[in-house]
């Protein structure tokens, strides 16, 4: 058996250190080792985006990264984006505009959407659809997901203007 490695990660602002086999997939590290169960396993084959997290500023499917690759990385999951009582505008908007039904894809959707809005604060519908193409939803038909992201963008831009 291959040697275990000493791994250091920063997840949602918290330093984590442990020994792991390099082949451990990051989604399992998050869910089973660190009990961070927001990122979901949908397909496990790099297609659905349910496992999306932000790693060093990139949206990444965490089922397609070895924990060894992530050693030293700064990771944000849905848990680091908002929490009950302190929801992120995207979470509020998904709730308000029926951006989810079963909710299985939602953590990945919102984590990806948060990054998209960082890159493009006022996206067009086309930019949203293109920028969210790595996240699959079985329930909503996407219409309300697009609406939710548009609503969150408007809200976030208004809040930014008010703060200036």
């Amino acid at each position: 058996m291959a040697k275990k490695m000493h791994i250091k990660l920063k997840v949602n602002g918290k330093e984590e250190e442990f020994l792991a086999e390099p082949r451990e997939l990051l989604i399992y590290t998050l869910r089973e080792r660190l009990n961070i169960t927001g990122p979901h396993i949908g397909c496990e084959t790099s297609h659905c985006g349910a496992c999306t997290v932000t790693i060093n500023g990139k949206s990444v499917k965490s089922c397609t990264m070895f924990v060894a690759q992530a050693d030293g990385a700064d990771i944000t999951t849905i848990e680091g984006i908002g929490a009950a009582g302190n929801l992120h505008p995207l979470q509020e908007a998904f709730k308000e505009h029926h951006g989810l039904q079963c909710g299985y894809c939602t953590p990945g959707m919102i984590t990806r959407a948060a990054k998209l809005l960082e890159e493009i604060p006022s996206p067009t519908e086309e930019q949203i659809r293109f920028g969210m193409a790595g996240n699959i939803c079985r329930c909503t038909g996407y219409q309300n997901i697009v609406k939710s992201i548009q609503a969150a963008a408007a809200q976030m831009n208004a809040a930014r203007e008010a703060a200036e």
Binding site: M1, P22, R23, H47, M65, F66, A133, G134
Partner: protein
């Protein structure tokens, strides 16, 4: 979906990579973005005992736009290709093609070096690189060598790169004229059913040069010299388009799979190439 166990290495320079490749031979594999390799390892279709992660290796990043050529480091990601404003002006076909690869998450991770080194006939960059007459820099135990993209692909997953070499950069002669990368796929994020890369020059209404390459229509990308030659000297009228498509169809060799039977793939290839030529010519 758990891959077999391996030892993990993260060297800091090419010398370190080459030393590991020399030590472990064909039990070692380099990894760039991992978005072709990890899925294969999860399916246990690839046996890797020593995984050499290139992420910290210096000198493999950056896009340099010179006066006659463009040099792209092997670790440049598809997202970086898309976001590079000067590259979008110098060689817009790269951005057009990269935008049609996979999805945003994959494009943050997938690299140009991994895409061209992989040898999967489904990858989009190899055909594009043949169209652009790019060359690949390979570093090995005896130093560096250059291999033309048009000479690099031997069969599915078999390339001119030997096991002890790393691809460090892609060099593209400055493209001239109009361009198009046209791709037919079953759904967004999918590999091509058929794709065509076209770069074409218009000299006063007459085509003076045309380069055409096709993706996922054979076990390697197909540079169709005859298809390009069919356009040269013409005004890219309907007769020339028909001749180019007919010549291309002679050069491809698709097989039946879950993207369709051979006759359908040939049909799709013809439609895609026609569209690509028309669009490239309209921009030339």
């Amino acid at each position: 979906m758990i891959p077999a166990a391996f030892d993990y290495h993260r060297p800091k320079d090419i010398a370190g990579v080459l030393a590991l490749l020399a030590e472990h031979g064909d039990t070692a594999r380099v990894m760039a973005g991992g978005h072709s390799l990890i899925p294969m390892m999860k399916l246990r279709m690839t046996d890797v005992q020593h995984l050499i992660d290139l992420q910290d290796v210096g000198g493999l990043s950056g896009i340099e736009i010179g006066s006659t050529s463009i040099r792209i480091g092997a670790l440049v990601t598809q997202a970086e290709l898309i976001d590079h404003a000067r590259l979008a002006i110098a060689a817009p076909i790269l951005r057009e093609a990269a935008l049609q690869i996979a999805d945003p998450q994959v494009r943050y991770m997938g690299t140009i070096g991994g895409n061209v080194a992989n040898g999967d006939p489904g990858n989009d960059m190899p055909g594009l690189m043949q169209c652009l007459n790019a060359s690949f820099t390979l570093a090995g135990p005896d130093g560096e060598r250059q291999v033309a993209a048009r000479e690099f692909y031997e069969a599915a997953y078999v390339t001119a790169r030997s096991d002890d070499e790393v691809l460090t950069a892609v060099t593209i002669p400055m493209p001239a004229g109009g361009h198009a990368y046209e791709k037919q796929k079953r759904k967004i994020g999918d590999y091509a059913t058929a794709a065509a890369a076209v770069q074409i020059v218009n000299s006063g209404g007459t085509c003076s040069s045309a380069a055409i390459a096709m993706t996922n229509l054979s076990d390697t990308p197909v540079f169709s010299e005859a298809a390009g030659a069919a356009l040269v000297g013409s005004s890219v009228d309907n007769a020339a388009l028909n001749a180019a498509v007919a010549a291309m169809l002679e050069d491809i060799d698709p097989t039946e799979d879950n993207r369709g039977p051979v006759a359908f793939k040939k049909h799709a290839a013809g439609v895609i190439l026609r569209r690509a030529i028309e669009r490239a010519w309209s921009r030339a």
